[in-house]
Assembly symmetry: D2
Homo-oligomer: 309 residues x 4
């Protein structure tokens, strides 16, 4: 069963929207505090290119942690799995996404997976390029190619706000530099990472990228290969085992689709062989996931029988 | 694409068998040391009841940690998800399967998931019954019903061997008793748990149970409901996120099917909507998974395109 | 400067007593809940046998953790430092006294010191004897010899209350049994340990034992050697570095004398070359130390210039 | 009993020197690798100003962690105990000196004591002054006043070598900045801290500073107050509970004097009411203490009965 009209999607959004009042917008990055907690929007992109929408689906928001999946895909393509997984592990963790403990207690010191902050920093540190400009260009062109557009913007205000307050990420960065997991200048890495997190996108575009992953790496409209199928598969795996912060296990049990959330309130879903989804709802639960967004994805998964399990 | 003959399965077994020499049989339970490290056998059970075999597929071995999934299904049916998940969490962990650290550092103290030892003890502690006999009867009848047979044996030698040396599980048990996660007598719990782990089965039977989970809880031959579909789905989810000890993430990435391993060398797989699989190969890798068994499952998954991602 | 009259001690007690209202009696062992939170008494025993008292100095209470020092002295004498320190470390810890984390994360697994519960269990496990009776007799005779009396009682009610609820100590015990730090039956060990903790004593007697340690192991009246001087010195060292639970460092800084507290509200002090002290005040602060007792010891240390630093 | 001649001290040095072959010089700071592992020298400064020497007692070395005690004394004087201990704790720890784990797992996040790196950084962060120059001047003048000389040098080569490789200290610094334990620019803090660690001194001078602490804060020759007596006492306390890295407990038991070591191979001792000592022996044991130096201090403590316990 699949979605047929924007109206049915709008009904689901209205069913999920009341949950916004139990959440609150992220405040650890000053610029994110300004989001409207009542927002909730969604887009589905089927693998034949059909699209459905509800809510303000062209409203821009920043990728934040959703960029971790895209950056992972990028380095898997550019650097290959061997290099990538020599610097970052493949295992889920019960620790918080910003935890440093396991870096000290594990031997060898290596971030457990690319979806926690330490692992994401190690991933971004593998971007190829002579300097910041080349590294950034390589990555942003990859994002543009996924979206099939020529220019993707990043929110300078959000990036700088995060850059100026990312002391914990600097702590993780220097710790890994000590153990030679990452190399080079930490400030430059942080700048690259905060820009990556500040890329602006809307629900519809998020659904497009989800659809690429769902479609074994091929564009849902043109069927052009944007990501090799094995890279797409690896990314979907991490989305299941550690895509939703410390609620990944519960989400897998209740919803059962590859998905990645960010503290801006976005959720990108990739339902294998079916569709991509983009959700935006900035009111977060205590684990950092969009509270109404989670509810909406569960309603859709139940209705359209998306669970891969 | 699906398996057509026992011969093609036998070829895959021969391709995987050389890996046995890089593994070794479990020695932490004295009775397991006597296994033959060269053994490797497999069975596939398709959802129309068709079966294929290779190796000594009727050789008995003990379930060990594979019993964790079956016990979870049992309490989910008998006690309901609300009670179950008030005592045990749903999140994967980066800690070893027998770790106690998170019980102390998490607040509230609660085992992270039902696939680690602490969580499995909490699950078995929920078995209903007035006494050991009733608790055991309830569970063993559930196992018998899954297999469609009237008697399932358990290996007393293995059970006692484990019971006599399970100091770490006692430590976990008493720790959780302190925090009122588990109740009652720890020795009785340990006896129940070690018997559960010592249930004897062969590859063919393991494939049957896997097929029940793969078939949304229905018997692959009679289509009779053995497990409610939502319970089957929850179990498959945990098999993906934490079924293969600390190699679960890597297994999900490389093989991509719900599976659970045990230190006896067994692996039970449940490929949704396709088939159940049973593998036995007692030579283990350092994480506690059958070393040749893992390789064999990966060969099958690649060939028959089983990955759910 | 030293104490000259009971009256001046009584004044100090009255100065410290108001603090009792900020503390509360231990409730983790049911039988301890019945203590009177307003109690506060003290005894000083100088090394020439002179004694001073204030408050109800003959009121009995149980040793609890104070017994850890006496048990340590006992095994150091009976088993020798080499055996003792092969089973238990010499380093302070920042973890709680009942923590299990370091047993798992340290390699080799070994309790950090004899003043935390894990270490104290390892110490009691070294008591020599064929059976419980012999082990207990050996230890209780040592306590009697320290006190110079022929019979020392233990509170059966407290011991059983603790024995029946000591799940965390059992957890520690089994964990160490797994790693072969301790041997034998855990229930028997727990029984021995809870009896040791339930030995009844009063302030005056506590001061006597403190005086033995302060006097390089010699009885303050007869000058008979009760404890070899090097054993007495080792014990005083542990009292400074880890005698006051997680407030040991602060106590060393503010008071500066070897001391050991227990959750019954007792504090035993040993001021080298000067005196022993016994304090009883069952209202505890959040770290488990007698709240008015701590204050009283600090008043005495300031007045009589006891700090060893 | 006290030392009477340089000859008897020379004999003790010769007795301890063979241990140098079981240690090795620090290599984590490149510039320290060039030390001569065979060096061993000592100086004792009695509280009447009498001095004894053995070995090359005028050879300069850098303070390294010994500076932690001096910096602590400085901020206790300048900022007062209340401010100091609101930013850094008083408790010993069983974790390594450079560990970050407790900063994450403790609530509130606060370094356990001023002798571990996290705590020492928090101490240096409290140096008063408008800019780096003023902060440094304030501290170096305090060191000069302790030594009674007008100029103290710092080894630029060692400081820069450490500054360029101190990634772990930066990690600790940013972590604490996140939790507002420290403020301001981390690079500036690191520069100040590495200069502090690179202050050059010799054995004789080290003994002088030790003697100030031993003498309740007064200069051993002039009896002028250099450090208030309560500050001197607090410092000696930390030297006992956490002055010798993860061997502090063992050192307290075997030697029993307030002492602080550094990875350059220095050990400063403060025997209350008796003497100060300075030792230099750059070959370290695995815990980071001078291996022959430790042995030498133990020989002296046994011979001259220095233990405070």
């Amino acid at each position: 069963m699949s979605c047929k009209t924007n109206e049915e999607l709008t009904k689901l959004v209205e069913q999920a929207r009341p949950f916004v009042k139990y959440g609150k917008v992220a405040d650890y990055i000053p610029a994110l505090k300004e989001s409207n907690p009542d927002d909730l929007s969604v887009s589905i992109c089927y693998l034949d290119g059909t699209r459905f929408f509800a809510g303000d689906y062209v409203k821009k928001f920043t990728l934040q942690s959703i960029s971790k999946v895209i950056a992972l895909a990028y380095v898997l393509i550019e650097n290959g799995p061997n290099e990538v997984f020599s610097n970052v592990g493949m295992e889920p963790t019960g620790d918080p996404f910003n935890s440093i403990v396991k870096l000290e207690t594990s031997n060898p010191s290596k971030p457990l997976n690319p979806m926690i902050n330490a692992g994401a920093l190690a991933v971004t540190n593998m971007f190829k390029g002579e300097d910041h400009y080349e590294k950034w260009e390589g990555f942003i062109q990859f994002v543009q190619s996924l979206l099939g557009i020529e220019e993707v913007s990043w929110n300078e205000n959000v990036a700088l706000s995060e850059f100026n307050t990312a002391f914990l990420n600097r702590s993780l960065g220097f710790f890994m530099k000590q153990y030679e997991i990452i190399h080079g200048d930490i400030e430059e890495l942080l700048f690259l990472y905060t820009k990556q997190c500040a890329i602006e996108i809307n629900c519809s575009q998020l659904a497009t990228i989800g659809a690429v992953f769902a479609n074994e790496g091929k564009d849902p409209v043109t069927q052009e290969v944007k990501v090799p199928s094995d890279v797409a598969r690896i990314c979907k795996t991490f989305m299941v085992t550690c895509g939703m912060y410390n609620a990944s296990g519960e989400f897998a049990t209740k919803v059962g689709i590859p998905a990645k959330s960010g503290v801006s309130g976005g959720i990108m879903g990739a339902v294998p062989h079916k569709c991509g989804i983009g959700v935006f709802g900035p009111a977060l639960d205590e684990k950092g996931n969009s509270i109404a967004g989670l509810n909406l994805v569960q309603l859709m998964s139940d209705r359209y029988q998306w669970s891969i399990f």
